[in-house]
């Protein structure tokens, strides 16, 4: 199961190659889903594809290096009560996180979502929501 972790960097910490060091040290596969930095520091949204213990160890290392971490449980929601499977979102999704099943239902695979948010305003009944954290 992919863990999604939000790393918060101070301006000072942002200068050091902490992510690279931790990948090197642990050998754990990590994928940057989203990153944003400015003069005051920034954040990286990370997908860690590893067994629980290994992922936990990587998160600890970030904390030890002075990076604030937060594990994300649900970041995008598809409200199935509101959604009527029109599919307006489908062709806008760059990763295939939103897909059409054989019975023409819309299915959301959260693991694939990169929070680009293109789908959100395209939904005619506002059934897609990204939670801010």
């Amino acid at each position: 199961m992919t863990k999604k972790v939000l790393l918060k960097y101070s301006a000072e910490k942002a200068k050091k190659p902490i992510l690279a060091l931790i990948i090197k040290e642990t050998g754990t596969l990590m994928n940057i889903l989203h990153a944003k930095f400015d003069a005051e520091g920034g954040e990286i949204l990370l997908a860690i594809d590893a067994p629980d213990a290994e992922a936990k160890r990587a998160i600890e290392l970030f904390e030890q290096n002075g990076i604030e971490t937060k594990e994300l449980k649900r970041a995008i929601q598809l409200d199935e009560e509101k959604c009527f499977d029109c599919g307006a979102c489908l062709s806008l999704c760059p990763t295939g996180a939103l897909r059409l099943t054989d019975d023409y239902s819309i299915e959301l695979d959260e693991d694939k979502c990169i929070y680009c948010e293109i789908c959100v305003p395209s939904c005619p009944v506002r059934a897609l929501e990204i939670s801010k954290f």
């Binding site: 009527f84 029109c86 307006a88 979102c89 062709s91």
Partner: protein, 499 residues
């Protein structure tokens, strides 16, 4: 072999009518042929659930005391048309809320009415001896209304074009969000389940046909506006009791950057009266074609890229220029199927009987463009043709001199062949001072927003507004600079129009 509608209704009453959905009929006709299918099947149930902007509802509020002749009327801040007697009004699906904009419109008011929610009513009037009241505020639910009738001028397009976008920017259309450079394709319509595509010759569909409308039983009462049967773009006018409808099949919607609409669930039962009708109801997604159209061109006649079938569209990928492009259906295929299934069940359960049409619908009506008494101006009518230009190799100093002598802010940069390669503004020159840069090639902006010679001024004005710019170079299809058009040129035109 011929069957009458009355005979089919008798079979429904006896409980031995054979009813299938349009998807099931495709298989039956494919396997057994239309002759056998006509003998075997009595009714084919169709369905669609798409955004139908040309929808609305007639409402009657009853009289207030003292009475008012509502001159203007708002329902949850969405204006309804009340220029029909005193307390009748028509709420249209695409009318926007005056306070919430695109987030709420007439379509949402209609859905809220169906859900039984309270609607805020505000009205103003000029006052007469018989209707002295000038202002009114109240709340109503559908139960407080004498009539609430869904009455849609144009529903259930037989099929519709598929859309894509050639521009290098995302555009927001009634066909949904279209990504740049043919980044996606959108389409609407349920293909093999499409009500009108199952009887494109209007042998069984006509004035008086009873249909599934928004979860209730409604009727077709005329051909729809813009009905174009010869182009496989037939439409119908529909009517039904809003009070009996189900919000599962009547949904207000916001289409990003376009406005509001109403998703309408609609299904037509096709009585299999002969083999011809059996054959048309057997039509498959592979046989239904439509045009993939470039919505990047903001003209009435949009370029057609190629023909696509509904089978391709429903597969989720369409090939454009050697690339596989992802596709969005905009109508719900799942609910289209559900509606056909529900209609089938109603008939099997003897809750729904077929009607004999009172009049046929036109089979040769054409959809004409608007008569315009003045031609809309295009870029080449207004642009300045004598444009001072520079070459990429020219010095920044020479460009500074040009700006100091002339009264303009944009200097187009062209190559030896006259092709536009970039633009330099007086601001770019100011910024370059003291940076040690010498040539225009070092400071020019190569990604220039341009207009084509035949682009309508209205489209260019929108471009200037969206990008916050004050002018655009006008280029030929080959990219050669032909002129420049500024917001000033457009203001002058508007000044002339006002006079």
């Amino acid at each position: 072999m011929n069957k009458s509608v009355a005979a089919i209704n008798d079979r429904i009453k006896r409980g031995d009518a054979v009813v299938v959905t349009a998807e099931e009929m495709v298989e039956i006709v494919r396997e057994r042929g239309e002759v056998e299918a006509a003998k075997e099947v009595d009714v084919v149930a169709t369905g669609t659930f798409g955004a139908m902007c040309s929808s609305g509802a007639w409402l009657n509020f009853g009289h207030a005391d003292p009475p008012i002749k509502m001159q203007r009327l708002w329902l949850n801040d969405v204006e309804a048309y009340s220029g029909v007697a005193a307390v009748d009004a028509y709420i249209g699906a695409t009318q926007l809320s005056e306070t919430r904009g695109f987030e709420y419109g007439g379509g949402h008011v209609i859905e809220d009415l169906v859900r039984g929610q309270e609607i805020e009513v505000k009205a103003i009037a000029y006052g007469t001896d018989c209707y002295p009241r000038k202002e009114l505020e109240t709340t109503v639910t559908k139960d407080d209304l004498n009539q609430a009738v869904l009455c849609n001028p144009r529903n259930a397009y037989q099929r519709y074009v598929a859309a894509t976008n050639s521009r290098d920017e995302t555009i927001y259309t009634y066909m949904g969000t279209l990504l740049p450079n043919y980044g996606n394709v959108t389409y609407s319509g349920s293909g093999a389940l499409s009500p009108l595509h199952n009887d494109p010759n209007y042998e069984t569909i006509g004035v008086g046909t009873r249909i599934f409308l928004g979860g209730a039983q409604g009727y077709i009462f005329w051909e729809g506006t813009q009905h174009a049967p010869t182009k496989a773009m037939g439409t119908i006018m529909t009517i039904g009791d809003l009070k009996e409808m189900d919000a599962r099949y009547i949904r207000g919607a916001t289409i990003e950057g376009y406005g509001t609409s109403l998703y309408v669930g609609l299904g037509i039962p096709i009585p299999i009266i002969n083999e011809r009708v059996a054959k048309t109801t057997g039509i498959s997604d592979e046989e239904i074609r439509t045009n993939l159209t470039d919505y990047g061109v903001p003209r009435r006649e949009r370029p057609i890229l190629r023909e696509v079938t509904y089978a391709e569209l429903k597969s989720g990928r369409v090939e454009v220029g050697g690339k596989e492009i992802p596709v969005s259906p905009l109508s719900s295929l799942k609910q289209a199927r559900e509606i056909a299934g529900t209609l089938k069940k109603w008939i099997e359960d003897k809750k729904f009987f077929l009607t004999q049409t009172v009049e046929g619908l036109s089979t040769d009506q054409v959809f004409q463009p608007m008569r315009q008494i003045t031609a809309a101006p295009v870029a080449k009518d207004l642009m300045t043709r004598e444009v001072v230009t520079a070459k990429p190799s020219d010095s920044i100093t020479s460009a500074a001199k040009i700006f100091s002598k002339q009264n303009f802010d944009h200097l187009p940069i062209v190559d030896e062949k006259g092709k536009l390669v970039g633009i330099v503004t007086s601001w770019d020159i100011a910024v370059a001072v003291g940076t040690g840069k010498r040539r225009l090639s070092e400071i020019l902006t190569s990604k220039v927003i341009v207009a084509s010679e035949n682009e309508p001024i209205d489209a260019i004005a929108r471009k200037l507004e969206t990008h916050g710019i004050s002018g655009v170079p006008v280029v030929s299809t080959g990219g050669e600079l032909r002129g420049i058009l500024t917001s000033e040129d457009i203001s002058k035109l508007i000044g002339r129009r006002r006079r």
